[in-house]
């Protein structure tokens, strides 16, 4: 399902035009190709789709949904958590409008 767990921007590499984001403790790189230059900064909350930042979201909304996911993921170990997080991002059907 399109749960779209919010990710927090940890660092931005302007040269590579990419960011490292933290999705519930899982760190990964995401392209900034779809975002206006300079619009994504450290500590912003974003949604990721197949390796790209697709938009920014409101901090308040992000924290609220993260609370729910945290409760779920607290019950999992490290490896399982990272599998589940990556799987959520990678729903092949998310191309639906």
């Amino acid at each position: 399902m399109c749960l779209s767990i919010p990710s927090k921007v940890v660092s931005v590499d302007r040269e590579k035009n990419s960011a490292v984001v933290d999705t519930m403790g899982v760190k990964r790189e995401a392209g900034l190709d779809l975002m206006e230059e300079g619009s994504v900064n450290i500590d912003d909350y974003v949604l990721i789709h197949i390796g790209f930042v697709m938009n920014k979201i409101d901090e308040e909304d992000a924290l609220e949904s993260l609370k729910v996911y945290h409760e779920i993921l607290a019950k999992m170990d490290e490896e399982e958590r990272s599998r589940v997080v990556l799987e959520d991002d990678n729903c092949e059907n998310r191309g639906a409008p």
Binding site: M1, C2, L3, S4, G31, D33, L34, M35, E36, L47, H49, I50, G51, F52, M54, N55, I57, D58, D61, V68, Y69, I72, K75, M76, E80, V84, V85, L86, E87, D88, N90, E92, N93, R94, G95, A96, P97
Partner: protein
């Protein structure tokens, strides 16, 4: 269910009390409907939620669901999968694509079978990995079999941008990006479809904006509600559609405003426009040929277009689904999956005869899996 998935865990967070309360409210307000409300859910994600939680059973008889085209994997006609296979069979070629596409059968084979037979076929986590693979294999050609609805298209455009600006010369594109509004038009246009309301998915309108649904209310006099994926969201969306119908309104409304805007991501839309143009027509598995319903590479990038560069190896015959398959009729709301003669017998998720059985978001597949829930 053996494997733990986030979506299963999330089930604990749907609230049965809220769902029941909404159901009661809908039941009450639906009494005032002048005609039955037949709602098409455009996205397979909604089909999934609706079937999984047995929402049809909670709703009054005068509200019915019609399941939409499903997902980008379901609507891929067999001849396009045959293209991918033909490309993968070329000498010194690596075929790369996203996820599920690998399992889906074409007319003779599937990418999975081809991979087992030794072809170099790789699933990608992100399209950008195709660039890495191309750079690491300068003596091979890499073909990216690009799939997806509107939201996945900009990622392909971003890859195209990288290939063009970095002058990578061994990466080609086979573009299968399709557009949903023309498919809805095709379903509605012959006037037979019994659909009088739509619900559209929320998060995923992040790229296109809700505006892609804007023409529907005027054109067909139908309410459109963009809503989230949890059962509570879907029920809320249905209530909004009921109210519109009752009050004689046909409008575009957003149930779930978080991160959905009318405009969407303009930069992403511009990037698409730079590299891709409307394709004069595309055959949708289960629906048929639809004008302007897909994208292709712009003429100036024809040198990257696998369909042009490798035209001689690609089959050109359209291949239809089994003639007993009634997916097209199901999509119009004129039949339910159980009415298909081969449903659950000759046609199952493991050996689908038609598009609606292919992925978990297809209508027949969802009915098959949740048949117990439906009783």
């Amino acid at each position: 269910m053996s494997e733990l998935k986030l979506k299963d865990l999330y089930d604990g967070f749907r609230d049965p009390a809220t769902i029941r309360m909404l159901a009661a409210q809908i039941g009450e307000e639906a009494k005032a409907l002048h005609e039955p409300l037949r709602i098409m859910e455009v996205c397979g994600g909604h089909t999934h939620t609706i079937m999984k939680y047995g929402l049809p059973q909670l709703l009054p008889d005068n509200i019915d669901f019609i399941h939409g085209p499903g997902c980008p994997v379901c609507i891929m006609p067999k001849e396009r999968i045959d293209h991918a296979i033909a490309l993968a069979r070329m000498e010194d070629t690596i075929l790369v694509t996203l996820g599920d596409m690998i399992r889906v059968p074409g007319s003779q084979s599937s990418l999975a079978a081809e991979r087992a037979a030794g072809r170099d076929i790789r699933p990608l986590y992100t399209p950008m990995d195709a660039l890495k693979i191309a750079k690491e294999n300068p003596d091979k050609r890499v073909v990216f079999f690009a799939i997806g609805f509107e939201t996945t298209t900009p990622m392909t455009a971003a890859l195209l941008h990288a290939v063009v600006t970095q002058k990578v010369d061994n990466l080609y594109f086979h573009i299968n990006h399709v557009l949903v509004p023309p498919a809805i038009d095709a379903i509605m246009s012959d006037g037979q479809a019994k659909i009088n309301a739509f619900i559209g998915p929320s998060h995923v309108s992040v790229i296109t904006g809700a505006k892609i649904y804007a023409p529907l209310p005027q054109k067909y006099g139908t309410p459109v509600v963009v809503c989230g994926f949890e059962p509570v969201d879907v029920m809320q969306g249905i209530l909004m559609a009921v109210r519109q119908q009752k009050e004689g309104r046909a409008e575009l409304e957003i149930e779930y405003s978080r991160s959905v805007t009318m405009e969407g991501n303009v930069k992403a839309q511009q990037l698409i426009d730079m590299y891709l143009q409307p394709r004069s027509h595309f055959r949708w598995r289960g629906i048929g040929d639809i004008p302007d319903s897909a994208l292709e590479l712009r003429d100036e990038f024809a040198y990257l277009d696998a369909e042009k560069v490798f035209a001689e190896v690609l089959p050109t015959e359209p291949i239809d689904d089994h003639k007993l398959c009634i997916c097209g009729t199901i999509l119009k709301g004129l039949a339910k999956p159980m009415e298909c003669k081969v449903f659950g017998t000759a046609c199952t998720p493991n050996s689908p005869l038609g598009s609606c059985m292919v992925s978990s978001e297809g209508a027949c597949n969802a009915y098959y899996r949740y048949a117990g829930v439906l009783g």
